[in-house]
Symmetry: C3
């Protein structure tokens, strides 16, 4: 079953639901009743937007765009519901995409330190999420992972998660073969072993027919490097014009079953509140929620 | 008035509403009260997705992605409401688009046979829909039509429908002129005469100004070849960025009136549940529903 | 605070909400309670669609696509709520984009005259909106502005509004620098001074970091030419794949505060009913509405 979800504030490319404290409180209740025990802030800041009033980011962007202290809200709601909160790092949206990896590291050292000073002792804090996503070996990003992982462990010794994506046929004109994927991730895992604890590959870029092989390969690679393997079961649909609506239920179920067959350690999703919640801004998420919950109860009865 | 609708399960490019048995039951009630007497399953399978647990397709795709037996559900709901159900063929999404028309025929011979064995005697079954859409003469697709039409009539002698599209200016950089359209469809109608019983052209690709001429040309061509002419009055909007929302009511009304002026035999729509239903996942469909129903009642009063 | 909104009937690129008289009446109530005193019909006609049964446009397009007399409805609703209604001119969608500016002028002379004959005495009518949007100096469009402005003032001597857009980095691969923007608009303002009374720049095309400088430059240019400066605070989000959903609240608040800092004379928005209203077809607009209203009440308390 899906027991974790990203919290997509601050969003790259998904519309805001425009939720305040009450709406988030209601949705955490829904998450809890759906069996979610892990919430992962996808990123605490992106370019000039931030999920809390960060002095570090306000130095970069004097006009920093902030709704409220959503980080505190999420931590408190996670605590209320006995969930673990994973904090997602800042994505400058500029440095690392231009090859300036040291600058990306530097701002994140300060930013995560600021976060740790404010919220490092919060009882719900249970993990770090390094938000820089890759699909192939990249020496610069390896240095980001190494520097941030060491720094984060020093701030508080918690597990570190990344959620990469395969260069799959649904998103790329020249996708990797499974073998190319495997070679790249072999090199990456050698490099991050002992620093990154959990890898949760996104599962929506490859064809449905390829997914079991990708999941098995990823789980096997993880095992050989002592890394925990989760699957990021995307709950939005990549097969339609609209970017992006809740996924069709049979596709989600197929992906869940494929991940279970590959014996990954945990299923998380991107993400509950937009795409799987009865409170979603997309009315079709309510149907996905009903069908998922009905199936989940059936599975639980069958044991 | 619109008296038929496609059922867009399995969808190419429209987001899933994630409806289960209850939601579909509710929507068939709504269809009935809106005067729908004909429901057409747009395709029973597409690539690795299917509307029922087909052994034939499971041989191609071992992991076949199926929600429930929606075909049985739709047949039963159609029967409950005195509607006629038309079964849509399988679209491999690969063979015919690569010119392998015999492979497309072969899988469909087996697939429709499997359907006929299971549901061929269902009292609501009233027609066949060949789901392979074209906009121009194509000898390979003619062979698909010929082979499938003969086979389907052999399975059960019911009318056969296709729903092609004009190569119109709203969708193509180099659209056909009306004359080119007419030449192509003249050749096609010569070829399918006596096999295909009903042609329902889609009405959203050409400019509103051209629509009456296209409708008249299509109705005339149909008449000359003894084919029944329906209009597929698309209820989604092709004029906006979002792909695709419910159409603006005055556009729908214009297209309905244009189709009536061309004296087509029946109006169907793609499709009720996403775009015209008060139960739609798009809130603006509720407004379309209200305005359509109000106008419909007015027209009926006026006779 | 935002005290004006466009009415996006007839729409270019935003899906129709499919609202009838009751829904519009309800939304004007909502607008009034949100402090809207000014409603601007974005265009009364576009190509073959019109917001009322115009004989002038029906001569161009015999099948003119009209829902109802929305112009009368909007005027009456504006009067009920003590709002000022601004009438937006016709956009042929063809003449002026092909350089045939005189044709664009001619149809609008007749069209606005027709409007004035029917509704020119309506007590809610308070302004003219010339709907032809530009981002750079264009001699042809200057002639459109000059001819229409003189004509409209002759029909009824009311203020004239335009709402142009900067050639900003979010929309254009080769955006203008602020200096280029300033040079172009300097030339434009010299030309339209004394004819156009109010300029409300759209605020969503430039980066958030640039917005204050653009607002200040625009306000300064306006002041030097005796033109009133409004800001068109766009309430839809340009940062996500979906085109277009309600904007994230912190972005809207940032833009409102930036416009106030630039001391523009009034904030209007494109537009309330789709993107800021609790009645919107986009569920996430309800959240935007709640957060905006809460913040507005807080600001008002603080004075």
């Amino acid at each position: 079953m899906i027991t974790g979800t990203f919290l997509d504030e601050i969003s790259h490319d998904i519309p805001s639901a425009n939720w305040g404290r009450l709406e988030w409180a209601k949705d955490f209740e829904s998450m809890a009743s759906a069996g979610i025990d892990t919430v992962i802030l996808i990123r605490a800041g992106y370019r000039d937007r931030c999920a809390f009033h960060s002095d570090v980011l306000r130095k970069r962007h004097g006009y920093l765009i902030v709704q409220d202290d959503l980080v505190e809200l999420f931590l408190d709601l996670a605590q209320t519901h006995g969930m673990t909160f994973w904090f997602g790092t800042y994505d400058s949206g500029e440095h690392w995409v231009r090859g300036e990896h040291q600058a990306e590291i530097d701002v994140n050292l300060a930013f995560t330190e600021e976060f740790a000073q404010r919220y490092g002792d919060h009882p719900a804090l249970g993990g770090w999420y390094i938000s820089h996503e890759i699909d192939a070996f990249d020496d610069g990003v390896m240095r980001v992972y190494e520097s941030l992982a060491r720094h984060l462990k020093g701030l508080r010794d918690l597990p570190i998660l990344i959620s990469p994506y395969p260069r799959g046929a649904k998103q790329f004109d020249r996708p990797f073969t499974l073998e190319e994927h495997s070679q790249h991730w072999s090199r990456i895992f050698e490099r991050i072993e002992g620093l990154v604890d959990v890898v949760a590959f996104q599962d929506g870029q490859v064809l449905y027919s390829e997914l079991p092989d990708y999941l098995a390969t990823n789980a096997d690679l993880s095992r050989r490097h002592g890394i925990t393997s989760w699957s990021n079961v995307e709950s939005f649909d990549r097969d339609v014009h609209l970017k992006f609506p809740p996924i069709a239920w049979p596709k989600l179920r197929y992906k869940i079953e494929a991940a279970r067959a590959a014996q990954v350690d945990k299923l998380i999703t991107f993400e509950y509140s937009h795409f799987m919640s009865p409170n979603s801004m997309f009315p079709s998420a309510a149907g996905l929620h009903r069908m998922y919950m009905e199936w989940k109860r059936g599975e639980e009865r069958r044991g």
